[in-house]
């Protein structure tokens, strides 16, 4: 029972992390109609920046803030140098160019930080378990990820739905020409949105960094998951991304936690423990396939252009 609660929380935590990644992706996708495979690279960069800056400053929080700023700047620079020339192009062109960027970022990281992964140690105040219920302990760090991600999600919702900037973003999404005619500086808006997406990806990366090893290619697997999420949720829909992310996070985590035991009842021990993670990964893609077949536009398609 405690295990189940813990795994549910882990699933929620992973789902929220995925949401941070997917939110940026779906904003950029929905608003600029731009497929950004390099989004995963920004996630990776966030993690590497965090590992580096925390090492330099000796402070986890300060390092994280610096890393966030660095990813934001990197995102804006990337948009300015390369990606803005790809708006309005074929999706295929965008896929290829950003695929090239992934290759670039992976090797750049290898050049700067070396091929071995980095570890990002947590300060002690974040490693102590917190008692949630009598007898139920949960790592403070994971709990803080949940809280931070929820706060960011709420903030994002407020910004997009309640503020002038958000209105501009939504206007840009639903009608680019009209937004342009209203005197909105679309170029600047897009750069801002892209920067925001990059910062969210960076945040996800730096928060995940202490849990996993910081390594090359870490952005790629999770990028695909993020794509699955926005496809399930409906491209351009923040709400859809949120729900789908939680869903995917839970399925993935619970699958990994409980499938081995379930499978062991049918298969041999070794076979079960290798098959389970693969099966739980597959489960997500299966889910996506079903959603696409039943509702080719995703579960919560954003308003029509």
């Amino acid at each position: 029972m405690f295990l189940l609660i813990e795994q549910l929380l882990n699933g929620l935590q992973f789902g929220l992390l995925l949401f941070l990644l997917a939110a940026g992706l779906t904003l950029v996708f929905g608003i600029m109609d731009f497929v950004n495979l390099a989004h995963g690279s920004l996630y990776m960069m966030g993690a590497y920046f965090a590992a580096t800056f925390v090492g330099w400053t000796g402070s986890f929080v300060l390092g994280a803030i610096l890393a966030l700023a660095a990813t934001l700047l990197l995102g804006i620079a990337l948009e300015f140098v390369a990606l803005r020339h790809l708006y309005g192009r074929d999706h295929l062109d965008q896929v290829l160019a950003t695929f090239g960027l992934i290759l670039f970022f992976n090797d750049m990281v290898r050049l700067i930080w070396g091929p071995a992964g980095l570890a990002l140690p947590l300060p002690t105040w974040l490693t102590t378990p917190v008692q949630l219920l009598p007898g139920v302990y949960y790592p403070a760090y994971r709990l803080s990820i949940i809280i931070v991600a929820l706060l960011v999600a709420a903030l994002l919702y407020l910004v997009v739905m309640r503020t002038r900037i958000g209105m501009l973003i939504r206007a840009g999404a639903s009608n680019r020409e009209m937004a342009g005619a209203l005197g909105i500086n679309i170029k600047l808006l897009f750069t801002l949105v892209f920067g925001l997406g990059a910062a969210l990806a960076g945040l996800a990366g730096l928060m995940q960094a202490p849990i996993l090893t910081v390594q090359i290619g870490m952005g790629e697997n999770i990028l695909i998951l993020a794509f699955v999420i926005i496809v399930i949720g409906g491209i351009g829909s923040i709400r859809g991304a949120f729900l789908a992310a939680i869903f995917v996070g839970l399925i993935d985590t619970l699958g990994r936690a409980f499938l081995p035991d379930l499978l062991r009842k049918v298969l041999s021990g070794a076979a079960a423990s290798t098959a389970a993670p693969a099966l739980s990964s597959m489960l997500i893609y299966l889910l996506m396939a079903i959603v696409l077949v039943v509702r080719p536009e995703g579960l919560f398609p954003a308003a029509k252009r």
Partner: protein, 315 residues
């Protein structure tokens, strides 16, 4: 088709002649490395050609084409591991399984369009990747070593470098010829018509879905053959063959050469893999150059190498 003397045709003729004569050069100079490299190139050219049939002619932007490389490869590897070494069994099985996979994937994916199609093909390929990782009996994540290449009752010896190279080359030329026939056939015209304007094709009486699906299956099957060749070439097959970056590389080869050009994928595969080889000799961090190069190609050379040649011809 009449042969016209223009830059692209001359290039193709020269490249094909060079490919045929390559083993001679290799034997004379003792440069075995180049033969190994080009065996790989020829195999990838076949895979990319099949993707070109789907993307360039059928307008279906599959981001999961590497799955068939893996499926073809695993068919060979698994049968070999189970003691069935005959290529007469291995290869037809590789083709059949690839075709079946393509049929299932295609029938689901083709219900979607655009980016959704790109993503769903990607997702299915990832599924195949995870299935392969789960095959603990056959190496799981670490992959499966193939101790003996496919045998063909003494007709051809795949362990002989030159013979294997020529077999791959024959498969490539055969594949390209087949694609050429298909493209100009009734079926091929319909597929290209659907790419151009699906609504119109429906209105004049073509059920687009069936044609697309058939094209999808043909392309997957041809790529399955490339997978069988690749597994024999490396004596090894692993889930990594199906990883999505591999699908991306296949796409790059097609675009680099020129999508919808019969020989585009061959040229694209040569350029991509030779470049990769040269850059990695020059620096360990070859992707630092290759990555931005890709961006530049997309930005400034959309038609690929064929597009550039066309410009030269006109200019």
């Amino acid at each position: 088709m009449k042969f016209k003397l223009n830059a692209s045709n001359v290039l193709v003729a020269v490249v094909c002649a060079a490919l045929v004569l390559l083993p001679v050069y290799s034997a004379v100079t003792g440069n075995i490395f180049i033969l190994t490299l080009f065996t790989r190139i020829v195999i990838f050219a076949l895979a990319a050609s099949s993707l070109n049939l789907m993307m360039g002619y059928g307008g279906m932007m599959s981001f999961g084409h590497a799955a068939y490389l893996g499926i073809g490869g695993y068919a060979v590897g698994i049968l070999a591991a189970e003691g069935i070494g005959s290529g007469f069994i291995q290869w037809p099985v590789a083709l059949a399984v690839s075709a079946l996979f393509a049929l299932v994937i295609g029938s689901l994916s083709l219900r979607t369009r655009g980016v959704y199609f790109i993503m769903i093909t990607l997702a299915f390929a990832q599924m195949a990747y995870y299935v392969a990782s789960a095959l603990s009996r056959y190496g799981g994540d670490d992959g499966l070593t193939i101790y003996k290449r496919s045998t063909f009752d003494g007709l051809i010896n795949l362990s002989d470098r030159t013979q294997f190279y020529y077999l791959c080359l024959a498969c490539l030329f055969g594949g390209v010829y087949l694609i050429w026939r298909i493209v100009n056939s009734r079926f091929g015209l319909v597929v290209q018509g659907v790419r151009s304007n699906e609504q119109r094709m429906q209105a004049i009486g073509f059920p687009a879905y069936r044609y697309r699906l058939t094209c999808f299956v043909i392309a997957g099957t041809i790529c399955g053959l490339a997978g069988a060749l690749l597994a024999n070439n490396t004596d090894f097959v692993s889930p990594a063959v199906m990883y999505w970056t591999r699908s991306g590389e296949l796409m790059v080869m097609v675009i680099l050469g020129g999508m919808g050009w019969l020989f585009g994928p061959l040229i694209g595969a040569i350029v991509f893999l030779v470049l990769e080889e040269l850059l990695s000799q020059f620096t360990e961090y070859w992707a630092l150059i290759m990555g931005p190069l890709l961006v530049l190609i997309v930005l400034f050379a959309r038609g690929g190498i064929m597009g550039l040649l066309g410009r030269v011809r006109r200019g």
